[in-house]
């Protein structure tokens, strides 16, 4: 049934459209058409066991939408997600779905909003234990909660406290403890450190790495911060307006970025080491996703755009274990990428 040599996650041509029309009555009165927004448009990737696959891109490009589809919090409009070879959409019976739900857990950006303020830490962490019936009695439950808290560097005594008694970093540890309590194989982490200070971020990223090694976890990691992504990832997918423009091994993406948007993102990283590199200021903004530009959706901001780019969608081209969707790359007319401070 399952093939342990295959990828843990396989995402096939995922599409998610949202109806963003005005309310029905207003629409009819003002004769407005139905409006849809393609938050995810043909996204395709695989995640191997034990690796960290990351999605990066600017706000609104569809990262969280993909995350929700992958863990099954949302249903795709088209396409499918295979977990350990099984199509989530194909499972109908609760008894088939529950074990898979247990194996994939999610950690969110906002450690304040994702913990119920009226629950004690014990009950928050025990949520998956209760939901999936993982223990036989109360003392086993407390034992499991204490173990999870210890694994994330908190103390078993913290179980009696409420979320407001903790700092942002500690709350994120509680979320991670809750996820671990389910004995998962796969964690989807949606901007887990974006709301935290750098010094706290370092603690959480180190913890996540440590847990990955100890428990052989597989991560889908989401962030808009390229330096963070570089640090944690095995492979990276860059998203723009609902699409993947490039997938590559982490090191290659930074040393030899192909897609012009990847290069733009790299150029906008601030120079903390003060090597004297100027941060390039790119003109323009992300277009309105309700009305994306024709052809390559990046063409209004792309320095390499030509007539073909304005009309024709670039198709993803497989390159080794990576992928890139760009006419200029395909036509071989993209100059090599140069950056002074990466020691190339």
């Amino acid at each position: 049934m399952t093939d342990s040599s295959g990828p843990l996650i396989e995402v096939r041509d995922l599409v998610k459209t949202y109806d963003v029309s005005r309310p029905w009555l207003a629409r009819v009165l003002e004769r407005l058409p139905v409006q849809t927004l393609k938050a995810v448009d043909g996204v395709k990737f695989t995640i191997r066991r034990g690796e960290t696959f990351s999605l990066v891109g600017e706000s609104g490009c569809g990262k969280s939408s993909v995350a929700r589809l992958v863990v099954g919090l949302d249903r795709p409009t088209r396409g499918s997600v295979l977990f350990d070879g099984m199509d989530l959409a194909g499972l109908r019976r609760r008894s088939d779905i529950a074990p898979i739900r247990r194996r994939m857990q999610m950690i969110f950006q906002d450690p304040y909003a994702s913990l119920n303020p009226r629950w004690r830490v014990e009950d928050i962490v025990a949520e998956p234990i209760d939901a999936f019936g993982l223990v036989a009695n109360r003392s086993e439950r407390s034992g499991k909660v204490a173990e999870s808290l210890r694994q994330v560097g908190l103390s078993p005594e913290d179980a009696r406290k409420f979320p407001h008694e903790f700092s942002g970093g500690q709350r994120q540890r509680i979320s991670i403890a809750r996820a671990l309590a389910a004995n998962p194989d796969f964690l989807v982490c949606d901007e887990p450190t974006s709301a935290l200070d750098v010094s706290v971020q370092a603690q959480i990223l180190n913890l996540m790495k440590d847990l990955q090694q100890r428990f052989g976890l597989t991560y889908l990691f989401i962030s808009h911060d390229l330096s963070v992504v570089y640090h944690v990832s095995s492979r990276i997918g860059v998203m723009y307006l609902g699409r993947l423009c490039e997938i590559s091994a982490a090191k290659d993406l930074f040393r030899r970025p192909q897609h012009p948007y990847t290069r733009l993102l790299l150029d906008t990283i601030p120079d903390v080491e003060m090597t004297g590199r100027e941060r390039v200021s790119v003109p323009g903004e992300v277009p309105d996703p309700i009305d994306p530009p024709p052809g390559c959706s990046f063409h209004p901001r792309c320095p390499f755009a030509n007539e073909r780019c304005r009309q024709e969608d670039p198709t993803p081209v497989q390159r080794g274990r990576g992928m890139v969707a760009c006419h200029a790359v395909e036509e071989g007319r993209l100059p090599p990428f140069k950056r002074s401070d990466l020691g190339q």
Binding site: V200, L265, V272
Partner: protein, 324 residues
């Protein structure tokens, strides 16, 4: 004489049990045309410091000690009315959320014109021409058309440009910018930073740039002050502080930043967390987390000691400490 002098500033928030000290005896200066970065983690006292300078501490919070001088004149004990005048004309402000600075009921043009009229003797027509020029200056495309739009019709990045236009429209000599790019996308952040830098250069405006983002400091500030638990632990030329910090907290902070091209398995981390206001320990506020702490650190509070172009508040660099 510096444009802004903050001298032993102390800001307290009274509570039922005792007053919490959010800013504890900090001193800093900003020269005309200079960009001073203020960094530190959330709760370190950056915003409270900025709010004290522009006279916007929310009661019952209060300036409980020290002085703030602008252009040689003391401004921390002025009446609310006088503070308001200084706020519009001499000191502008830009906050993280552009919507807090904009009135949703008026067009951006109306808001700019009103502010310009309040602080100059231009005619209404002239004020509008000036407003338009400012919008063009901050990079609003089709400004002549957009001047009559409402704030909600702009994207986040465009709104922050409008806020910057509002902050500079009366020609202030100092701008307090509190996390001006934190809510924006990276590619837009770069645009806003470039804009602030250009305005500062062209008009000789000084900026106090408050942020928790070292990258923003690196490319914008001339000098930087690092705050921890309501105190300044290190201050100096930005290049020196970022490349060769001396205070153990700054060193730890710089090492915890993930960097492109660095392949260390783990990030350096400072264990523990910054103490909350009611639990700041005696002596050096950092001592419980500091790998170099020794006996004196738990008893006495270190003061800023200048060495070369930087100053750090740490006994490791205090030549006088043997005297006690």
């Amino acid at each position: 004489m510096a444009l802004l002098e903050v001298d032993r500033l102390r800001v307290e928030f009274p509570t039922r049990r005792r007053a919490l000290v959010a800013v504890d005896d900090i001193s800093l200066t900003i020269e005309a045309g200079e960009v001073l970065g203020v960094v530190g983690e959330s709760g370190a006292g950056k915003s409270v410091t900025g709010a004290a300078i522009i006279g916007l501490i929310e009661p019952p919070g209060r300036v409980a000690g020290g002085e703030i001088r602008f252009d040689g004149r003391r401004i921390d004990h002025l009446s609310d009315e006088e503070k308001r005048r200084i706020r519009g004309k001499e000191i502008g402000s830009v906050f993280q959320d552009p919507l807090t600075s904009l009135n949703p009921l008026f067009t951006v043009g109306q808001q700019l014109v009103e502010t310009i009229l309040a602080h100059s003797d231009r005619s209404a027509d002239d004020a509008r021409r000036h407003a338009l020029r400012l919008l063009e200056d901050v990079g609003i495309p089709a400004a002549a058309h957009r001047i009559d739009s409402y704030p909600h019709e702009f994207s986040g990045g465009m709104r922050q440009r409008v806020v910057i236009a509002l902050a500079v429209c009366a020609g202030p000599r100092l701008i307090i910018a509190d996390e001006p790019t934190t809510a924006l996308d990276v590619s837009i952040q770069a645009q806003i930073i470039a804009l602030l830098k250009r305005l500062c250069r062209d008009q000789g405006t000084a900026i106090m740039l408050i942020t928790h983002d070292m990258g923003v400091i690196a490319e914008t500030a001339d000098r930087v002050a690092v705050m921890y638990a309501g105190r300044i632990v290190e201050v100096g030329r930005v290049r020196q502080i970022l490349r060769a910090p001396t205070h153990p907290y700054t060193t730890g902070l710089m090492d915890s930043i993930p960097r492109l091209g660095h392949d260390d398995a783990d990030l350096a981390q400072i264990d523990g967390a910054m103490p909350r206001l009611h639990e700041i320990p005696d002596g050096c506020a950092f001592h419980s987390r500091c790998p170099h702490a020794f006996d004196l650190c738990r008893r006495r509070r270190p003061v800023l000691q200048t060495t070369g172009e930087a100053a750090a508040a740490c006994f490791l660099f205090d030549q006088e400490r043997s005297d006690d």
